[in-house]
């Protein structure tokens, strides 16, 4: 039911609004991303001297910058998701939610959408940097690349958040949830490095399964159906697992 979902969403947003964790995460994200943006612009501008005339500096900066945003999300998102369910269980408020006339899917989706909103809010100021290059380059990077890049990072973030909420639903301990989520994120990252340019069938499969591989297409301005399908099914799959995990709490010894 939409109303219950919204009630959870609203509660979560209120929680972020007063929670120091959300502020610290957003501040760190913006600070580090601003620093690296500066660095990239300077480096790539320097490189571009002595390059052939068709060297696309704005696109280079954009790609490097979006890659950085993804990496930063990898580091910071565990802090957003670790408490999603673990804290509710620890506080006993899960008992309130689960004895109210509200379905598990509403709880999970409400929380997921709220964390995705926080992620979007966090990304929003970085768009200012992109606007900056937009106005200071000629020819400017095509709008399509910018939009595809941001859609990509939003989907990528969605995957991290869905996976993170699933991990958080497994334990009562926030720190365990945080560490486990972070470890898994790193593994996703490592899988990508390890399977780069692999030619065996296994390598190719791992390559396809890598969350980051699909992201790179988006940063090149390509909105590929396989990428979209991959990300959306990744998100749906982990939301489904989270719902099952929450439901199974009823069968475990409390």
């Amino acid at each position: 039911m939409m109303r219950s979902l919204y009630a959870i969403y609203r509660k979560e947003m209120g929680h972020y609004f007063v929670s120091p964790v959300a502020y610290v995460v957003v501040a760190m994200f913006l600070f580090v991303s601003a620093y690296f943006f500066n660095l990239y612009v300077r480096e790539i501008v320097e490189q571009s001297f002595g390059m052939p005339a068709d060297f696309d500096a704005p696109a280079q900066v954009l790609r490097a910058f979006l890659g950085l945003l993804a990496l930063l999300s990898l580091f910071l998102m565990p802090m957003v998701t670790m408490g999603l369910f673990a804290e509710e269980r620890k506080r006993g408020t899960m008992e309130l939610l689960m004895t109210s006339p509200i379905r598990e899917i509403d709880i999970v989706l409400g929380k997921f959408l709220a964390s995705l909103t926080l992620f979007a809010v966090m990304l929003l100021p970085t768009a200012l940097y992109v606007v900056y290059i937009w106005f200071h380059t000629d020819p400017a990077a095509p709008l399509r690349v910018v939009l595809a890049g941001y859609l990509g990072i939003l989907l990528f973030g969605g995957c991290l958040l869905a996976l993170g909420s699933f991990i958080s639903s497994l334990t009562e301990n926030q720190l365990i949830a945080g560490a486990l989520t972070f470890g898994l994120f790193l593994l996703l990252w490592a899988l990508d490095f390890g399977s780069r340019g692999a030619e065996s069938a296994l390598g190719q499969t791992v390559q396809y399964l890598s969350v980051i591989e699909h992201f790179e297409d988006f940063t090149r301005g390509i909105i590929d159906t396989s990428g979209l399908v991959y990300y959306l099914s990744f998100i749906v799959f982990f939301i489904f697992l989270t719902v099952r995990s929450i439901d199974s709490l009823r069968w475990r010894r409390a």
């Binding site: 219950s4 009630a7 609203r10 509660k11 506080r91 006993g92 309130l96 509200i102 009823r250």
Partner: protein, 324 residues
């Protein structure tokens, strides 16, 4: 309003709730009484839809708690052992959130919040953050949460834990006032609470129902046993021998610290009043009798009798099947 039939919950080899059956009428207050770990909380969790039962059925307002869980949950309020609070929310904000997840329409929310805060004496705490409240206030917010949406059935798991004596009286008073319009099940291990607030008592021990009755019936009619208190000036040993001879049952005897008097309590078999016989025998021996009175069993005694009897039997006979 509540129908429970053969409810059983097993955690692996441990049976936490064992074929429990009872029913509660509309507007009634039912007390769950039992030692810690008797299965009170588990039973409540099943009835509120938090845990599924292993077997048996339970209905709330006509809705099965397993097959029609959402409908059943729409009609209940629940205060768990630990009040389910969000420390970062204000009291008002929290109650508003509870109303939202209980599907109360927007136009009724404001008045319901005010109403619940008034009933639980929280009216001046509305904007305060829950984390800044004292333990007693937190417990009251928990209570407000259970009744804010005006549910048909309210479950209260140990509602007076952590409150000071004055607050305990207030809460009991509040529960009394809620009866009639709400059906209430409350669990407690505090005996006076049950006799003060409940219409009927379910005594649970080791997952089984040991007795269901009104507090009055439990205290006066229990097995028709009679207990007699005696104070006399008499030598300890001979008095004990005499009393044992009369009653044929156990006699507890305590020499008084001063005055050389002796007090004794004895159980007498049901049916006959042996007080005059005891008096005559004592006087016959030439001892002086100071006091002789019948003592009705308190709820404590019955509780202990029921719960310890059970344990002894189980250990002595070691048979798996026992009466409910």
């Amino acid at each position: 309003m509540i129908e429970v039939q053969d409810l059983t919950k097993a955690y692996g080899p441990v049976t936490a709730v064992d074929h429990v059956s009872f029913s509660v009428q509309e507007g009634e207050i039912l007390g769950f009484l039992g030692p810690n770990g008797a299965g009170k909380t588990t039973t409540m969790r099943i009835l509120t839809g938090y845990l599924p039962a292993t077997s048996g059925t339970a209905r709330i307002a006509g809705f099965d708690v397993t097959s029609d869980s959402l409908a059943a949950r729409r009609h209940l309020g629940y205060l768990p052992e630990v009040p389910p609070l969000y420390p970062d929310m204000s009291v008002e904000g929290y109650l508003d959130f509870v109303l939202r997840i209980k599907n109360v329409p927007p136009d009724k929310r404001r008045s319901r919040v005010a109403d619940a805060m008034e009933k639980t004496n929280l009216s001046d705490k509305g904007p305060e953050l829950i984390k800044r409240l004292s333990r007693g206030y937190k417990q009251r917010v928990g209570l407000a949460q259970a009744l804010v949406h005006d549910p048909l059935v309210i479950f209260l798991d140990e509602p007076t834990v952590g409150l000071d004596p004055k607050q305990i009286i207030e809460v009991r008073h509040l529960i009394k006032n809620l009866a009639g319009t709400h059906t209430i099940i409350l669990s407690t291990h505090i005996l006076p609470e049950v006799s003060m607030t409940c219409d009927r008592v379910v005594i649970i021990n080791k997952g089984k129902i040991a007795a269901i009755d009104t507090p009055q019936n439990l205290t006066t009619e229990r097995k028709g046993a009679q207990r007699i208190f005696i104070e006399a000036q008499a030598p300890e040993k001979p008095l004990q021998e005499l009393l044992v001879q009369i009653s044929g049952a156990a006699v507890e005897i305590h020499p008084a610290r001063t005055s050389g008097r002796v007090t004794a309590t004895m159980e007498a078999a049901a049916g006959k009043d042996i007080r005059s016989l005891v008096a005559a025998k004592i006087v016959e021996k030439g001892w002086s009798l100071f006091e002789l009175r019948g003592v009705s069993l308190s709820l404590e005694d019955i509780f202990l009798q029921l719960t310890t009897d059970d344990a002894e039997h189980a250990e002595a006979s070691n048979e798996p099947e026992k009466t409910k």
